[in-house]
């Protein structure tokens, strides 16, 4: 069975490419049983979202500050 190092690597790679069906199945098996990797799999897309919001996010932040 896949370990957490391998699972997090695949989760990370899923941001760069489509995983194969076999990879998806092995990953799913692992994540079902591992709360740490399950949390990791939810956090990685968030990192990407946060990074993209970085410039715009600071905008909103400074506008909010100005309004108050």
């Amino acid at each position: 069975m896949m370990n957490c190092h391998q699972a997090t690597r695949l989760i990370s790679e899923s941001q760069e490419r489509d995983l194969s069906l076999a990879e998806k199945l092995r990953l799913k098996m692992h994540v079902m049983m591992c709360s740490g990797c399950k949390n990791f799999s939810l956090q990685i897309p968030f990192l990407s979202q946060a990074m993209k919001a970085y410039a715009q996010g600071s905008d909103e932040a400074s506008e909010d500050k100005a309004k108050n």
Binding site: G36, Q49, A55, D59, A61, S62, D64
Partner: protein, 209 residues
């Protein structure tokens, strides 16, 4: 404050003047750009140059912008292009750096994973609840910047090329002079680190959210 009010006016003529005379806004914008460029280029002189060029180019055309947000988005778009050009020219230099850092980072994983590759007890990712709400908090962005700065230079660079400059994987590899497999390793490491830093400095300090 008065600048903020005048920029809210729908008259474009009024907002042009206010953007260019709003030194607080320009200073802050410049600071953010330098921070971003420095992470990307890991050379403060090159970063200053890129920011200067991007800012001058954008301010020349400040008339065509209705507000700060539009100007800022555009300035960052120019800065991204400048950085991408610069990185393409400096391919070889980066390649040498990447090799240098490869070994230093080899032992990272033993802190996170045990010898069979499973999470060490206290390193297991925790639940973050609803992380999206953090995106609207000023303090979160300060933590986010600090965490980005803790990434080793090359990891920060490829991570930002991927997620912020939004270059294609193939382009990042050819620009930095690494294989897809190298890139995947570096992105994996940078995500592990960034995640850990955000968890420890933000998401586990529950009271904020």
């Amino acid at each position: 404050m008065t600048n903020t009010l005048s920029s809210a006016s729908p008259q474009s003529a009024g907002s042009d003047v206010s953007i260019l005379s709003d030194t607080a806004f320009l200073t802050d914008l410049r600071r953010q750009m330098v921070k971003f460029a420095t992470l990307q280029l890991s050379n403060s002189q090159h970063a200053e140059d890129a920011v200067q060029e991007a800012l001058m180019g954008a301010l020349k055309n400040a008339k065509s912008f209705g507000g700060r947000a539009a100007l800022k988005t555009w300035v960052f778009a120019i800065l991204k292009n400048k950085i991408a050009d610069f990185l393409r020219q400096k391919k070889r230099m980066l390649e040498a750096n990447s090799l240098l850092h490869e070994n230093e980072e080899a032992e990272d994983f033993s802190e996170l994973f045990d010898h069979s590759g499973f999470w060490q007890g206290d390193e297991k990712p925790a639940t973050w609840g609803n992380p999206q709400s953090a995106l609207h908090q000023n303090q979160f962005w300060k933590v986010f910047e600090l965490c980005l700065e803790t990434l080793p230079g090359n990891q920060a660079r490829v991570f930002m090329m991927k997620e912020f400059v939004e270059l294609e994987t193939a382009e990042i590899c050819s620009t930095v002079g690494i294989t897809t497999s190298n890139l995947n390793v570096m992105l994996h490491r940078s995500r592990l680190r960034l995640r850990e830093c955000l968890e420890n400095t933000w998401f586990l300090k529950g009271e904020r959210a």
